[in-house]
């Protein structure tokens, strides 16, 4: 059996690795972006000089040969689902790693049997599509000008490295997670950043007002100029961008515009095929598409019936990973439904860490009450949502403090009451030793 995976992101790579644990089948992973898997989530740290590219690679280069996972660098241009055949761009090549002397001496890796060769088409028995997302771009005129870009791929980062050289002022459009990362990145190079945020406070579509206010203050304190209720109206410039005009009519000079208004499933090359798609590739709870032997995982997926409490398109690292694990079980012979369990996510806004477990929507739904605690002097806040009728906790938000995943997860699943949780709160404390112990009370 030959399993081919399009996309070497977290979803595709997890599927490949987990499948290898379960099966001896031939596995090929194709990507147009980089030879080897790297963590997209670390793009910002590369730009800021915390890491180099090699540090963002969770597995060393010899790993793939050793685990008999074949890699191809190239772009899938089209798919013939009837013939089970993929057609690749002309520059597509197999990736073959030459181990270093040290790796050979220590018997970590051995010399490859083959050398890199061209690949124009590939046949599969099972296909996993894990093509991820592309940044949304909006339909403003002039987005083609030099200095207007999004941040998603390694190529985007290289472009940013070039286009931010010598820049004094930048505008970031969009107040989401990637937007604030872009702001922090540019700020770290001494660039003055203005962020245009459509909502009236930062990430208020996800964060409740108190958390949103806390993050807003924190970001402002770090020197970012936040404009709320403000959208991009026009981009001006001749060859390179020179200024933007906002929906409030204000003109802001800038030599760089970062567009971060969200991402869309990367499935354009599949639109005209027999594969059923809407926003993303439609899958059932087994991550199977409408076509036999074709599966989809990660950012590019749209669930026909989303798991309970989940969105149908959920573009985050963790869901990509869990989908990869799940599909590997199915293809490995044990048909397994995708059940991502209690939701969790995390982020960091400059120096402010954020973790969330369960459901904590921006507006408290009917029947749910909320407990919110904020530290009197530090940037620390905790929110616990719970059901009005049973008092059972339904979700946690933590800002500036760390909570224990397993504990929060168990409390939500076991429907512990708010009082119980407050009383046992220390069990969920995940801060390093000597940190202040938080005492929450009504």
């Amino acid at each position: 059996m030959h399993v081919v995976i399009i996309g070497n992101g977290i979803a595709g790579i997890t599927a490949a690795r987990e499948l290898r644990k379960r099966s001896d089948c031939r596995i090929t992973v194709i990507s147009k972006e980089t030879d080897y898997f790297f963590s997209r989530t670390a793009l910002m740290y590369m730009y800021m000089g915390h890491l180099k590219f090699e540090h963002t690679q969770p597995y060393e280069n010899w790993f793939w040969q050793k685990n008999k996972i074949e890699l191809v660098r190239g772009m899938i241009e089209s798919v013939d689902f009837a013939q089970r055949k993929l057609f690749l761009s002309a520059d597509s090549q197999t990736v073959v790693y030459q181990p270093t002397l040290l790796e050979r001496l220590t018997k970590v890796a051995s010399k490859p049997a083959t050398s890199a060769s061209q690949v124009r088409d590939l046949s599969y028995d099972k296909l996993i599509i894990a093509t991820g997302s592309v940044p949304r771009f909006g339909d403003w005129p002039n987005t083609h000008l030099d200095g207007v870009q999004g941040l998603y791929s390694f190529q985007d980062l290289e472009k940013l490295e070039r286009s931010s050289a010598g820049v004094k002022q930048a505008v970031v459009v969009g107040g989401g997670l990637i937007g604030v990362e872009l702001a922090e990145m540019l700020h770290s190079r001494g660039i003055h950043v203005t962020m245009l945020v459509r909502e009236s406070s930062y990430w208020s579509s996800v964060l409740a007002p108190e958390e949103s206010a806390l993050v807003t203050q924190h970001v402002q304190k770090h020197g970012i100029n936040l404009r709320f209720g403000c959208e991009l109206a026009k981009i001006q410039g001749t060859q390179k961008v020179e200024r933007v005009i906002t929906s409030q009519g204000e003109t802001i000079d800038c030599q760089l515009i970062g567009i971060s208004i969200g991402v869309e499933p990367n499935i354009d090359f599949l639109r005209t095929t027999s594969l059923e798609t809407q926003r993303g590739i439609l899958v059932n709870e087994y991550l199977e598409t409408n076509l036999p032997n074709v599966y989809a995982v990660g950012d590019c997926v749209e669930h026909r019936i989303p798991p309970q409490g989940r969105k149908s398109v959920e573009q985050i690292w963790y869901t990509g990973r869990i989908m990869g694990e799940t599909v590997a079980q199915t293809i490995g012979g044990q048909r397994t439904p995708y059940r991502p369990g209690v939701f969790f996510n995390s982020a960091k806004f400059f120096d402010l860490e954020y973790q969330t477990y369960g459901d904590v929507p921006a507006q408290c739904p009917d029947g749910i009450q909320t407990f919110y605690w904020q530290h009197p002097s530090k940037e620390i806040a905790i929110r616990i949502n719970y059901r009005q009728d049973t008092q059972a906790v339904t979700g946690f938000n933590a800002l500036g403090t760390r909570l224990r995943h397993a504990t929060c997860d168990a409390w939500i699943r076991q429907q512990r009451s708010l009082d119980y949780v407050l009383e046992h709160f220390q069990e969920a404390d995940f801060n390093p030793e000597f940190f202040e112990k938080l005492r929450l009370s009504h």
């Binding site: 989530t41 670390a42 969770p58 220590t106 869990i322 995390s346 120096d351």
Partner: protein, 509 residues
């Protein structure tokens, strides 16, 4: 603030330049009195006579003087060797003492002035360079680390590394060329123990100053992290009070020089005859020191490591660890995380532990039996081989000299026999582990990159497995730099260590 920082850097560089310049100060004259007071009676008629051409000749440079002296001594020894008169060969380390005694001039007369112009300027400059960081917002400060020539193996790192290597080689094997530098700290040495500074005093002084000043930097850099602050305060305390001051004070009270926190086999000469004799001849205190030293590694290491992991020593108490965690902090990201490096590490560090044990057993055999040969091997040459290659070249020249190229824990990771011993306990019998916070890891790699021990922390974290590794020194930096709050250093029941990655990470429940 940027101005103060820049000013600090200039002062530091000026102080450093003047420090190098002090090597050229003083003039050096050998007098008959010096010969009669410094040379042993049996060498007066041999070496004493040979030195006559140097007498009353004034050298403007200490290095020329030392070179002239060494040439005469070496020639004499070569003559003895050619004549196979082995018993006459002179092994005494005259060169350093005589160079120092022959000096006169500005540095000798005004050591405080020059102390201020060198160490004074360096410390003030360094603090000025460091302190303005207080005006920045607290938080991880790793911006630009891999863009900077000093922290990314660039030209600055190469210069610093070359300087450190040269410094160690000279200090260990050619101390006579650093005689002037010891004069800078003579007043301090005299105040502490009554005698002029030896090269080891100079080294201890510089070492402690580095730990202090860079400890301040560390405390400021991590002022948002109490674990780092407390830990830094601890290593600074142990280096300053226990490793540097206390032994000097003991010496001034006519007690044996003793560093209470140094543990065999890192302290490889603990069982050497001269140390045992000195302790045994020092009454109750000496016996206590002997028992203390043995108890530390027999009982102290297993018990404390059981409760806290090896960090109780490696990143809270140890002197090598202290330097690594302060002076070495800017270089922690340079450690090699590859599997190849881990393989080499496991062989090497355990081989050194084995060598230390064998060497010590031989030395003790000689001590008790009086016979210097053990199975036809001379225990004295084994011990001096160990001292030269492991104690000197590995721990010092390579261990510290390569900070700017291979990270700050080269010795601790690849060479330290005590670390290997502590590591065995940590892995097999300890409550310590780094807990992974469920599924929150985004595989970004910050933890692995900033792990000074080259542990691929992420490999465990992204699988939801706890990090239980014999080499982990518990510095806590992986936890500090993780942007998702994934890692936590904890002590808890041994059985609760998650050693096998969960089948599926939090999904599919």
């Amino acid at each position: 603030m940027a101005f103060l920082s820049r000013l600090g850097l200039y002062l530091l560089l000026a102080g450093f330049g003047l420090w190098l310049y002090t090597l050229t100060l003083n003039e050096f004259t050998l007098t008959p009195t010096l010969i009669s007071s410094q040379l042993k009676p049996e060498h007066q008629a041999t070496l004493g006579v040979r030195l006559q051409p140097l007498v009353q000749k004034t050298f403007q440079s200490g290095w020329e003087f030392t070179y002239a002296f060494d040439t005469i001594l070496n020639n004499l020894n070569n003559e003895y060797r050619t004549a196979q008169q082995w018993d006459k060969v002179i092994y005494d380390e005259y060169s350093f003492a005589i160079t120092k005694a022959a000096a006169s001039g500005s540095l000798k007369q005004q050591p405080w002035l020059w102390f201020g112009l060198t160490f004074g300027l360096i410390v003030v400059g360094a603090l000025l360079f460091i302190l303005p960081a207080l005006t920045q917002l607290a938080g991880n400060k790793n911006n630009g680390i891999f863009h900077d020539a000093s922290t990314n193996r660039g030209w600055i790192a190469k210069i610093i590394g070359a300087f450190l290597i040269l410094f160690y080689i000279t200090l260990y094997y050619y101390p006579q060329y650093l005689a002037n530098w010891t004069m800078l700290v003579d007043p301090i040495s005299k105040a502490l123990n009554g005698a002029e500074a030896s090269r080891w005093f100079l080294y201890g002084f510089i070492y402690t100053v580095c730990v202090l000043v860079m400890g301040v930097r560390m405390a400021i850099k991590y002022r948002h992290n109490r674990y780092q602050q407390v830990r830094t305060a601890s290593v600074v305390f142990f280096q300053t009070a226990v490793a540097f001051l206390l032994p000097e004070i003991l010496v001034s009270l006519n007690k044996p020089y003793f560093d209470f926190k140094n543990i065999w086999p890192l302290d490889y000469d603990f069982f050497f005859d001269y140390n045992l004799n000195s302790l045994l001849q020092s009454g109750n205190l000496g016996i206590f020191m002997l028992v203390w030293g043995i108890a530390l590694f027999v009982v102290g290491v297993p018990i404390l490591t059981y409760f806290f992991g090896k960090r109780w020593y490696c990143s809270w108490v140890c002197g090598c660890g202290g330097l690594a965690e302060t002076l070495g902090d800017p270089y922690r990201q340079l450690s090699d995380k590859s599997l190849a490096a881990w393989k080499i590490e496991r062989y090497l560090v355990h081989a050194v532990l084995g060598a230390a044990v064998v060497m010590t057993v031989m030395v003790l055999y000689t001590y008790f039996s009086g016979s210097s040969s053990v199975l036809f091997i001379d225990s004295y040459s084994v011990r001096s081989l160990y001292g030269f290659w492991i104690g000197g070249i590995f721990a010092g020249v390579v261990g510290t000299g390569l900070y700017p190229m291979m990270g700050n824990r080269v010795w601790c990771r690849f060479g330290c026999p005590l670390a290997a011993y502590l590591g065995m306990w940590q892995r097999k019998k300890s409550r310590f582990r780094i807990t992974t916070n469920g599924g929150q890891c985004i595989s970004c790699g910050n933890c692995s990159t900033y792990c000074e021990m080259g542990i691929d922390v992420r490999a465990y974290a992204q699988r939801g497995q706890d990090i239980v590794r014999s080499s982990c020194v518990g510095c806590g930096i992986c936890s500090a730099v993780c942007p998702r709050g994934v890692l936590n250093l904890e002590n808890a029941s041994e059985n609760s260590r998650v050693m096998v990655a969960p089948e599926v990470l939090l999904g599919n429940k």
